[in-house]
Structure formats: structure tokens, C-alpha cells
């Protein structure tokens, strides 16, 4: 699997906060994604009903996943395709490499695939003599930079156009030096030209899948650029790399999910290209791939079924949770240290690489709840982050200071009278000490707070005391 810097989240976050260029690029996230989603959701009165429906479909599919997989496999085979099961990331990479070798592939074009990032397919193919070329504009840019995506639908959202220009000038040395690359449009045109050549000469095309349909053995990809389509139709073989949680029962079920996907992701009514692929080129077809393979990856997902984190498998990778997350807005995606950032990453990453490595991620939340509010399949993300925190505590993975603090705190909260007394005393003492300035610039045991901002001096009675007296007065 792709290596992780999730254990260094705190350090990563500090670096990200001090990175002026990153902060500049992140400005766009909150403004654009959030308002666009709102607008398009407001235009569809059935949007919330579709979210409920989508949640129910995914729940049903997961509860019957073994049977739908069998049905799906049967239809893929009937259409002339091949299904390969992969228990681990290693297995999936080996299957893909073996297929590439059998097909004599030297270059492989790739549609955007988060599962591809998860298993680190590019580095593996490259190390084994097969050249992978990312074709989604954002993925292409980060491949040039040897980076992970910083967002699951906008991989290069952490970059400014000036940075992209510098990368293109560094890599596209065959083009005139004095060309104008100052606008996104000219950058896109250049990438289009460079990649057109790659599309037409690639031996194998690898795409992910947004959905797999059990009814018909169909894989669906959703894109705006059309790169996924060129990736899968031009080479002699199309390999679909997808995780087992992508299964949905029927075409009708896929339509429910498609109606919430684009709206939640980019704020479009519908993405430009929604492509349903079933098997290889037919006898009478003049174009399309001659072979069609599906690599179905488990990699820890079957273990999530039936447990506290099963709901996470409903995720359709729209990115709405990170688009609405104040922590993501502040630090961007790379700080999370692995493939999946933001709230969905904070829940999924510990499941896939272990809470011992990813323990910081579910702690990097204010529990403001915006992620759950916008999730198209209503995943209780804050609740599951809390479950991870509990597990981290139970497995004694949290730091000693946190454990001592929690032990101290729980001693008081289990004795309400003592808690009320202690907080009343503390509030009064702090109010007295801070009566002149009205705030503290430094406070023992609260350096984490006062290093960045003042701590206000308490005023009046404690919250609980005020609550009590107001209730009595009513």
C-alpha cells in the first residue's frame, strides 16, 4: 500500500498552516464547492429524499454484498469480461502487473482512481517496467510532482496556477520556451495536447469505478474531462480497479446515487460524462477494448462489515465532507498523511492502515457536524470519529498527558456535586485573578490554547449554575 505520514499529522498540519502558497490555494475550496453544492441542491426539491434513498440502497447492498458480488461476477463473465478478486493491495498490484505483462504493455493510461492511489499502483508498475500516465488533469499534475492527491475529486486543489505553470515548463521541454502559460485555459490546452498522444499509443487503460451494477455486470465512471473514456476505449484492454463496496443492485439504484453524486461533489446537476461499460468490444463493434478485466479489491473492507464502521462503506467519494470541513480548509489534504483526507479519511484511514498509525486523524475534528449534514449517504462521520477515539483510548494508544487529563476529568464528572463545586471555585478564582485584564495571556496546563490566543477570564457563575437558576426562575 501507499506509505503514510499520518502519524506525523500534527507536524504536517503546522507546516501546512505556515505554507503561504497552500493557504492561497485553499481559499477556493470553501467559496466554490460549498456555494455551488448549496445552489444545485436547492434546485431539486427531492434532494434530501434522494439522500435517504441512496443511504438505504447502500445499506441493502452491503447487507447482501456476498450475493450481489456473485450476481455481478456472473454478468461480467456472460458479457465476455473477467473478474479478479484481490484480498490485499499487494494482490491487486500483482494481478494488474501480470495482466500488463500478458498484454505486452509498455505504457498504461489511467483514469482517476482513489483505489489506484490506495494500492500505489503507479510506483509499482513503474518499478516493473510499465509506464503509467495519469490523464485526469489534476492527477497528471500531481504525478509530475510525485505527490499524492490532496482531495479525492480535485487532486491538485492545493496548487496555484503559477505552480502548475512551473511544473509544465520543467517537464514539457519539447515545447517552445516563450509560450504563454499564464492562464488555466492555456495550461489545460497544453495538457490536452501532450496527453492526446499518450491516449492514442497506450497499450492498456486502467480506470476506477464509481459504481458496479450487479444486475448487468456494468462498471460506471463519472468524469467531466472525458479522460476516463479515452483511457478505456482506445487501448486493447480496459482494466477496472474497484473496491468491493462499489456494488449496487440495479440500474435504478445507480440512478438514485448518480442524482446525489455530482450535486454533492462539484455542484453540477450531472457530471459531463457518465459512462456505463459492460464487457469488451462486441463482434460488430468497430472500436472499444478487446479485453475487459475487473480487479475487485477487499483490502480490509470485508472486516468493516457488521461492525462499528460498516456505514463508512456507503461512501461514494464525492468529497462534500472535506469541502465543508473547517479542519480541511485550514490544513489541506496532504497533512492527513495518506490517500484519503478530510472527515471521510479520518474514519476510513484508521480502518485501512490501523488506528496506531492514524490515531491523530479522528482527533483532528471539532465535531461541528457539517460533514454529516452534507453527506449524500448520511454517514455519521462525527459519531464514527468518536468511536475511533474511544478505541484509541481503550487500546492505550493515546499519549500519557491525554490519558492523565481524561482520568482527572472523569474523576470529577462522575461526581457531579464535586464537579459543580470545583468548577465554581475555579471560575471564581480565575475571575478574581483575571479581573483587571479580563483575559489571560498564559495559563498553566492550557499552553496549547494560550500559545495562539488569549483565554478569556470567566464572568459570573458557571454555565451549570446559570442553567439551574434560569430554569428555576421560569
Amino acid at each position: 500500500m501507499t506509505a503514510s505520514t499520518s502519524p506525523e499529522f500534527k507536524h504536517n498540519a503546522a507546516v501546512a498552516l505556515a505554507d503561504a502558497e497552500l493557504q492561497n490555494a485553499l481559499r477556493f475550496v470553501e467559496v466554490n464547492f460549498v456555494s455551488r453544492r448549496r445552489e444545485v441542491a436547492d434546485k431539486l426539491p427531492e434532494f434530501d429524499a434522494l439522500r435517504d434513498s441512496s443511504r438505504d440502497i447502500k445499506n441493502h447492498a452491503l447487507a447482501h454484498l456476498d450475493l450481489y458480488l456473485e450476481e455481478y461476477e456472473g454478468r461480467v463473465t456472460a458479457a465476455g469480461g473477467h473478474v479478479h478478486y484481490a484480498v490485499t493491495a499487494d494482490d491487486a498490484r500483482q494481478i494488474i502487473l501480470d495482466l500488463c505483462r500478458k498484454l505486452g504493455a509498455k505504457t498504461v493510461t489511467k483514469g482517476k482512481s482513489m483505489v489506484g492511489e490506495e494500492i500505489g499502483i503507479n510506483d509499482f508498475l513503474e518499478a516493473n517496467g510499465v509506464t503509467p500516465v495519469e490523464t485526469d488533469l489534476g492527477e497528471y499534475i500531481i504525478q509530475l510532482r510525485h505527490e499524492l492527491p490532496s482531495h479525492i475529486i480535485a487532486p491538485a486543489v492545493h496548487l496555484t496556477k503559477a505552480q502548475v505553470e512551473a511544473d509544465f515548463r520543467r517537464v514539457h521541454t519539447q515545447l517552445p520556451k516563450d509560450r504563454n502559460l499564464t492562464e488555466p485555459a492555456t495550461l489545460l490546452a497544453e495538457a490536452r495536447g501532450v496527453l492526446r498522444e499518450k491516449f492514442l499509443t497506450a497499450d492498456v487503460g486502467i480506470t476506477g469505478a464509481n459504481f458496479l451494477i450487479a444486475e448487468t455486470g456494468t462498471s460506471i465512471i463519472v468524469t467531466n474531462e472525458g479522460n476516463g473514456d479515452l483511457t478505456q476505449m482506445l487501448p486493447k484492454a480496459h482494466i477496472v480497479l474497484a473496491s468491493i463496496d462499489k456494488l449496487v443492485p440495479t440500474l435504478e439504484d445507480a440512478a438514485q446515487l448518480l442524482r446525489v453524486l455530482a450535486r454533492s461533489a462539484t455542484g453540477q446537476e450531472m457530471s459531463v460524462y457518465t459512462t456505463l461499460s459492460t464487457g469488451p468490444r462486441r463482434a460488430s463493434d468497430p472500436d472499444g477494448p478487446l479485453e475487459y478485466h475487473v480487479v475487485l479489491l477487499d483490502n480490509g473492507r470485508s472486516a468493516m462489515l457488521g461492525g462499528d464502521f460498516q456505514d463508512m462503506l456507503r461512501c461514494i467519494r464525492c468529497g462534500a465532507c472535506m469541502n465543508h470541513c473547517p479542519v480541511y480548509h485550514a490544513v489541506g489534504g496532504h497533512a492527513y498523511g495518506w490517500v484519503y483526507p478530510g472527515p471521510m479519511g479520518a474514519v476510513l484511514t484508521p480502518s485501512l492502515i490501523g488506528i496506531d498509525k492514524a490515531g491523530h486523524l479522528p482527533n483532528a475534528s471539532t465535531f461541528c457536524g457539517r460533514c454529516e449534514e452534507v453527506c449524500p449517504v448520511r454517514i455519521p462521520l462525527p459519531h464514527m470519529m468518536r468511536s475511533w477515539r474511544e478505541r484509541e483510548f481503550e487500546r492505550r494508544l493515546s499519549p500519557a498527558t491525554v490519558r492523565t487529563g481524561l482520568a482527572f476529568w472523569s474523576f470529577f464528572v462522575r461526581r457531579p456535586w464535586l464537579y459543580a463545586l470545583a468548577t465554581a471555585l475555579a471560575a471564581r478564582a480565575l475571575a478574581y485573578v483575571g479581573r483587571r485584564a479580563g483575559r489571560f495571556r498564559r495559563l498553566p496546563l492550557a499552553a496549547g490554547w494560550t500559545r495562539h490566543r488569549d483565554f478569556p477570564a470567566p464572568q459570573g457563575a458557571t454555565f451549570q449554575a446559570q442553567w439551574k437558576s434560569r430554569k428555576a426562575g421560569r
Binding site: 448487468t216 463493434d285 468497430p286
Partner: protein, 234 residues
């Protein structure tokens, strides 16, 4: 589960067994199997937005609005015989050479292309050298201004993506309200649980917003998508 964890168990069995272990099932439960079989056979429709549930005329008007909202252009002609001139006119308007490629589609083949005298019409797939193509869509969907195209010799999939300009002919009678109507049409045309190699749902021309979220048309697919609706809404 009957087989011990050993090197001999296939990856397929390992994955299915792991799923069944987690779900606490065997895979042989009759009620579960029935529920799956029923859903696959009955394919319930779920929530279908009221937006597309309109009489033919309004449905077509909504389709046109949504195509334009997705940055496509659209025009209506009375008859298939008017399409060649409309195609030539579109190319002229955009200063494009008078040449298009199409597939073997019967409706397209039967059009009087000689009426557009200077237009060079070739047939076959695209190898990336053509600037414009004409396809005949199976259907349109008013709900989002989406075109439905199926692969095959009639309308090769490469024509949908490689040329810079994609002109799509759709018959007014084939513009449906919602995706669900399309699924039924696919079942009628290709059989239950069977699909053509590719079904393309296309909503506007290709685009990317990957650089500073600035939306630009013409990423890897067509820069322009022009829809020609043929006939009256019925």
C-alpha cells in the same frame, strides 16, 4: 469457511468468506437470496424527481434549457432531411472546415447529405484526426439535459470523444423525462440484464476545473456539443 485458511483457497473464496463471516451469514439463506433475486428482477424506481414529469412540449423545453445550462447548444429542425444543412451551418458558424464523420446509423445514412453541397461526409470511427462528428442518440433526458448514446457500428464511441466538435441528433419523440425511462428502453432493446459495451450519458461539452477551480471547456473530449432535435414532441 469450510476450508481452513490455506494457500489453496482462491482469492474469490477468501473475499466472499470474509464478507460472510463479518455479516454472520452463510450465503445460503433462502430469504436473503429471494430478496436479492426480487430486487434484480423488479428493479424498484426509488425517488424520481418531479422536474422531468411533464407533457411532451414542456419536457422538450426543459431538455433544451438543461442542455444550454450545461454549456451545450441546441436547435430544433422539423425533419431529418433538414439535418445536413443544419450541420453545415453549425460548422460554418464556428469557422470549421466543412467535414464530418458519422457511423452506419440508418437514420443518419438516409439523410439527404447532398443538400449540403460542400459538406464532406465520411463514415467510420475516429482516429483523432477529425474535427467534427455526427451521432444519433438513443435518447435524451430532460431532467438534466443528458444525451444517451450506445456503442456499436451505428454510432462508434470514438466519435463521441475524439473530435473537437460533437453534433448529436436526437428525435423529439426520444426525449424522456428521467433516467429510469432510459433503463427500460435499454432493457427493451438489448434484453434484461444485458447491456451494449458502452452507454454514454453526455451532459454538455468536456471541461475541467482542476486548476484553481476555474471552469474551462474542452478538456480531453469535445470543446463543443451541439444538439439537433428532429421532429415534434409527442
Amino acid at each position: 469457511m469450510e476450508v481452513a485458511e490455506s494457500g489453496t483457497m482462491s482469492a474469490r473464496d477468501q473475499v466472499l468468506n470474509a464478507i460472510r463471516r463479518s455479516l454472520g451469514v452463510t450465503g445460503r439463506e433462502a430469504p436473503r437470496r429471494k430478496e436479492v433475486a426480487d430486487r434484480l428482477a423488479g428493479h424498484p424506481r426509488g425517488v424520481v424527481p418531479a422536474r422531468g414529469q411533464l407533457a411532451a412540449q414542456e419536457r422538450l423545453a426543459l431538455f433544451a434549457r438543461m442542455v444550454e445550462g450545461a454549456a451545450g447548444s441546441i436547435e430544433c429542425v422539423a425533419d431529418g432531411a433538414d439535418v445536413p444543412v443544419a450541420v453545415a451551418e453549425f460548422l460554418r458558424k464556428h469557422n470549421l472546415p466543412p467535414a464530418v464523420r458519422r457511423g452506419d446509423d440508418r437514420m443518419l445514412a438516409s439523410m439527404p447529405w447532398e443538400r449540403a453541397a460542400t459538406l464532406d461526409v465520411t463514415t467510420g470511427i475516429s482516429d483523432g484526426k477529425q474535427l467534427a462528428s455526427v451521432s444519433h442518440a438513443l435518447a435524451g433526458v430532460a431532467e438534466t439535459g443528458t444525451l444517451i448514446l450506445t456503442s456499436g457500428p451505428d454510432n462508434p464511441t470514438t466519435l463521441n470523444f475524439l473530435p473537437d466538435n460533437h453534433i448529436v441528433v436526437v428525435e423529439a419523440k426520444d426525449v424522456a423525462g428521467d433516467y429510469e425511462a432510459i433503463w427500460q428502453r435499454l432493457r427493451d432493446a438489448f434484453g434484461n440484464r444485458t447491456m451494449p459495451r458502452t452507454v454514454n450519458m453526455i451532459t454538455g461539452p468536456s471541461r475541467s476545473a482542476d486548476i484553481e477551480q476555474t471552469l474551462i471547456l474542452g478538456a480531453h473530449g469535445p470543446r463543443r456539443l451541439h444538439v439537433i432535435v428532429v421532429g415534434e414532441a409527442v
